[in-house]
Symmetry: C2
């Protein structure tokens, strides 16, 4: 039974321009770190991610939700967690502050993730193992599918998962092979050209076959120059993703993407405002065959549904520490599967939690095992930091979701 | 010069089911009340509205923004407030908590509204008077039009306002006549049939020609019965609006609206989730010629742009204590004008601020003077409560925006 909770406001300085992008030039990395402790002393850890200022507000929101869970037995809670998720996210007064977005939804993410962590620790297994051993009904019981009735009913979700059961055994070979990673840190916004070049060489030497460059400069020529440096340094066989972090207006995005297309990016990420579905529809047509990647700032399953319905996004970058946690992440994975769009999470958790979720996505949901973002900057702060070998995530074996902070 | 600020967490109990709807069955009414005080002791008051729990989080967010304004002279600040608004709402760490939505954007609303209130008090005029006396350029200088470049540039906004200048003098007759109100309080969700009937009779006797009923019951027959009671009580010449407060799924909305159409509602309000633009597109086609009204929970100009571009909403219910304050309210009014859709604000402020803004919308922007929601439940708490006479708002004459709380 969950006896106590606490939420810690953890903030970490970054060094030498790491983490910088066109919009966030001087970020911290910060976590609202929720901990739920049961009568045996077992503690579930769940994170929400922010960039520093206001992390305390997310902590307060997480405390509000955590308080609602005291007295619950974790297995009983997770047996139909979808109902609890809905009750928490629709709490009638707190709901006004979203609904289902911003500070309150980040707070909900931290608490939801702590529930899944505690559940896996209680069973003594890594979260990926717990999830892939659930039946389709058990999985769907953890989800809140409300406001998705027009595209994904409970019955359809279960049928979708059942359909993927046949191939699941073969897809388990990913557990031994390891899930591929991509290197986000070759081209942070504040890095100079020489540093980008050196990082590219090091990333390729480290076994990465995909990497990301930050764009969105006030001077488009800087973006083009840097993109060409990356392409020339890594060659044609490495996938290069360009990330504008919402910096462009739609007319700017159309204009500069016309130039950036020439270096053959694998995707263009967050070109403009994350609420602007229709701008992405227009841009997707303009940049085709290059695809857009969307999700880092998309707050919930409803807006993801609109992105998927409108057909403008080639990659869904849902982040389980931005949407309402593991539960809503799985909901959005199922939605994406239904629409035939791959899921490549943004990792506000530095991949700690998502290394579990992409294994589940591949094995159980049948998503392609594309690659998972890798950001190394907070490794020293985790009890069980992700391990990357030759560009591949080593499958974690510790019980839980690898989100315990030191 | 702004010397000091404070933000108060004000919460008010409601009586006997007032304020209740399908989603919010037991709300408080609460304000994050921001106060900016200059060296002369003049104080600008600005509100953000919530339903109680979490109002403290909005207060903390408002303090964050208010602190950025200390040391500014109010006339200089408002001369190009659009730049300040953009700088505040894009503060690089706080922005992550939105962007432009939820707790942080509510906090920004309170501070923005305090700036406009202080500006009008400094000039010694009611806010409506200040606004209608600004030139098109001066108005547009107070706005942040970023992410709207595809539909409304600065030049287009100025041209739109200039085009309306010719008719403005004639439209000033609204100041003497008073802006029509509609009665929101005849059919709160928790009211029984007899109470609804009595309230309808009283509203008509009080001069109202439009009123609202809360729907979204678990039992659709209750909605239909109550809607028919209102129609039978008030007759065919009174406009009756139905408000579901997001309670329906899309399939439910399509089904029940098919029945509710028969009593000829003037609009159907917030049928489903406020992020679900595409669901509203589908529903709008299904319920035509009845129109949808959207905006109470739509957080910013970007999502409103999508609603307007998709053509699914017949009425824009932007609320200046939900979006980022008066500045973004005006932006959305201009957008709505461009798309030919009337603005009928939701009044989280109980109409105190919006009575000024609808006069501006009519006189300067050229919007039709349709009617403004009237909610009487907090009148005793305002220094200058709105005055309604025979269903019409009496034009306020006190300096500022009428948002000082006792």
């Amino acid at each position: 039974m969950i006896k106590t909770f606490r939420v810690d406001d953890k903030r970490y300085q970054l060094k030498n321009g790491a983490g910088s992008d066109a919009v966030h030039k001087d970020p911290l990395y910060a976590y609202a770190a929720a901990r739920l402790t049961d009568e045996s002393g077992l503690t579930g850890s769940g994170l929400a991610f922010t960039l520093g200022q206001g992390n305390d507000l997310v902590c307060r929101a997480a405390e509000f939700y955590a308080n609602m869970l005291v007295g619950n037995e974790i297995e009983a809670l997770m047996h139909d967690f979808g109902k609890t998720f809905k009750a928490m996210s629709d709490e009638q007064q707190f709901r006004w502050l979203g609904p289902h977005k911003g500070v309150v939804h980040l707070g909900l993410a931290a608490v939801t993730n702590a529930c899944f962590d505690l559940w896996a620790k209680k069973r003594g297994v890594p979260l990926w193992k717990l999830l892939i051993d659930l039946s389709p009904e058990q999985i769907v019981n953890t989800l809140d599918l409300s406001y998705l009735e027009d595209v994904l009913t409970r019955e359809e979700a279960i049928a979708l998962l059942k359909q993927e059961e046949a191939g699941a055994a073969a897809r388990r070979d990913i557990l031994a092979k390891g899930y591929p990673g991509y290197d986000t840190s070759v081209g942070w916004f504040n890095y100079d050209d020489e540093q980008v070049r050196e990082n590219c060489i090091r990333a390729v030497a480290g076994g990465f076959t995909a990497m990301k460059l930050k764009v969105g400069s006030a001077d488009p020529l800087r973006d083009i120059r840097r993109a060409n440096i990356v392409r020339e340094t890594v060659g044609d066989h490495v996938k290069v993703m360009l990330d504008a972090n919402q910096q462009w207006t739609l007319p700017q995005a159309i204009s500069i993407c016309g130039e950036l297309k020439k270096m053959n990016p694998f995707w263009v990420e967050e070109p403009t405002h994350p609420d602007d579905v229709l701008a992405h529809v227009t841009l997707a047509k303009a940049v085709a065959p290059v695809k857009l990647a969307i999700g880092e700032h998309v707050p919930n399953r409803i807006l993801f549904k609109n992105y998927l319905q409108s057909g403008c996004t080639g990659f869904i970058q849902v982040d389980a520490v931005r949407v309402g946690g593991v539960s809503e992440f799985i909901t959005i994975s199922l939605l994406s599967k239904k629409f035939g769009v791959p899921v490549v999470p943004h990792v506000g958790d530095m991949g700690q939690l998502h290394q579990h979720l992409v294994l589940f996505n591949h094995i159980t949901v049948g998503h392609e095992a594309l690659f998972l973002e890798h950001i190394p900057h907070l490794k020293e702060h985790f009890v069980h930091p992700v391990r990357i070998d030759n560009g591949v995530y080593i499958t974690p074996q510790e019980p839980g979701s690898s989100c315990d902070l030191k």
